[in-house]
Symmetry: C2
Subunit: 109 residues, 2 copies
Amino acid sequence: MLNKKKQLLFEKQAQIAKAIAHPLRIAIVNYLRNGPQCVCDIAEQVGSERSNVSRHLSVMVSAGVLEYRKDGLKVIYKLKTPCILEFFSCVTRVLKQQARDNEKLLKVL
Amino acid sequence: MLNKKKQLLFEKQAQIAKAIAHPLRIAIVNYLRNGPQCVCDIAEQVGSERSNVSRHLSVMVSAGVLEYRKDGLKVIYKLKTPCILEFFSCVTRVLKQQARDNEKLLKVL
DNA sequence: TTATAATATGAGTATATAGTCATATAGTCA
DNA sequence: TGACTATATGACTATATACTCATATTATAA
């Protein structure tokens, strides 16, 4: 059985993972590779309502993945911990492995 | 706006992120660092019902994060793409940053 | 064959999350 | 000031996810 400390750590880690575990949020993180962007441009880029994007952004801020600054009317969001991007290189490896597996399966059929 | 290909990629990536975005699943992945384990031992370790653990395991298998082999009555699960573990080193960095931020905040109060 | 054990899964409930619309808030500028 | 713009949020609905219990499936071994 796990102790309380470990459980708390796993919950925190899960919160961060959850913060990026959504197609729209991944699209946002991906867009922010190019540098800081306002909500309106992000919404335009990912093709969703501003109110919806605003919510997704605040989830990622709470999780510590993004940070923002205000600039006049606009609010500019940016990646806080760019190591998040490393995660995607692993994810890509997983996807490539899946593709190879599917290929093998196809040959057997 | 995003094209269809990108959207599909982001959905796949989100599926993988979702597969580990849960405290129990993180506990499982963490336990599997030590090597392959059966459902009963995993359930014991993480402190949850076997049926529940079994479901979590199958989610991670579908996402390509885990794989399994049968051994008599037991089913042995293991990490398929250990690079998933790298994700946690980033997550740890995020958490440390949060801790630093909180410290700063405390000093201001 | 029968009893037992490990695992998986259907069905149900409870909870969490996403998305939309309307509205509030705050900054800009004529 | 008043009109306008960007963003955030409350309230709601729809959907997804987690968990539990009962049951099915599969393998083992007496």
